[in-house]
Subunit: 200 residues, 2 copies
Amino acid sequence: MKNITVLISGNGTNLQAIIDNVKAGKINGKIVAVISNKADAFGLERAKKADIPTYFIGHKGITREEHEQKIIDILEKEKVDLVVLAGYMRVLTSLFVGKYKNRLINIHPALLPAFPGTDGYGDTWNYGCKVGGCTVHFVDEGVDTGPIIIQRANEIREDDTLETFKQRGLDIEHQALPEAVKLFCDDKLKIEGRKVKIEK
Amino acid sequence: MKNITVLISGNGTNLQAIIDNVKAGKINGKIVAVISNKADAFGLERAKKADIPTYFIGHKGITREEHEQKIIDILEKEKVDLVVLAGYMRVLTSLFVGKYKNRLINIHPALLPAFPGTDGYGDTWNYGCKVGGCTVHFVDEGVDTGPIIIQRANEIREDDTLETFKQRGLDIEHQALPEAVKLFCDDKLKIEGRKVKIEK
């Protein structure tokens, strides 16, 4: 059983998807902590409801390094095997990323390397793409540049609005992220350079 | 009936797909010329076999503008409504692009804006993507930046090689490009800024 920690900043629907999959016995792991940099992140309520220890680690008035150290203290205490960024809206320093190299994954709402950054859905939509999607990837020192674990396409329909496109995209995210977590916990992911092989 | 010209540089499998769809009566248009900048492009043979007038317009020893003018002369003589770039490996000047604005389409073997340039399949593969695809788009002054008509996803499988990924991708291209040509010939494409609306 792997020890999983999820970092959030908001609503936590991807956290909920992981909670549900763990509860259903589909993931060979346990969520040992949910950490938010926002005190009012609704995801903290989701975690409490599932009896998962929650932590609010605010970033105001302290340095980026101090903030990350507080998170690292929790991760070390909980002997964490996997750190999942699920809508965590702060860029991590290379210190943190280096420390959790190959054990730190993120979900991004676009088909990387297209549309990195903070608004994957909006950027895909505004560019006039006909296919969007999501990417689960290991985090490296760049912004949304790490080796890709899973991508799922989301075809844009003629009658879509940004909202309907995004809603369908979130449903796809809620399948892709738990799938990646499951594969990690089953030791099925093998990083070879830029590529992630999924073993049978 | 729209007059269509196809520009090629090589094998011409996308040209063949358009020929087949025209022949099957699925496209409300006629291919009035196939133009190649390579004398030995096999696509010229495909066109001849389908009784389509062919032109070899070499680009060696003349300026880019002179080369394009020779093509424009053919397009004007044939009263062309739509110019299709199907594996045409030369970048067109803004003079040409401006002249055929909104009547010039290209197929690109990646999900733009990811992986513009000359090796969409290889670049997608080497990045370690799990989803590739193709894009049919109107051509503007940039390289592979124009408004997108159609995109189709091509999920990369664990047992794929670059070759199997590319082969499946070509099959998808051969559906997407004739579909875009059909929509154009049926006057179904409406460009609104960066977006292409497909009318019912």
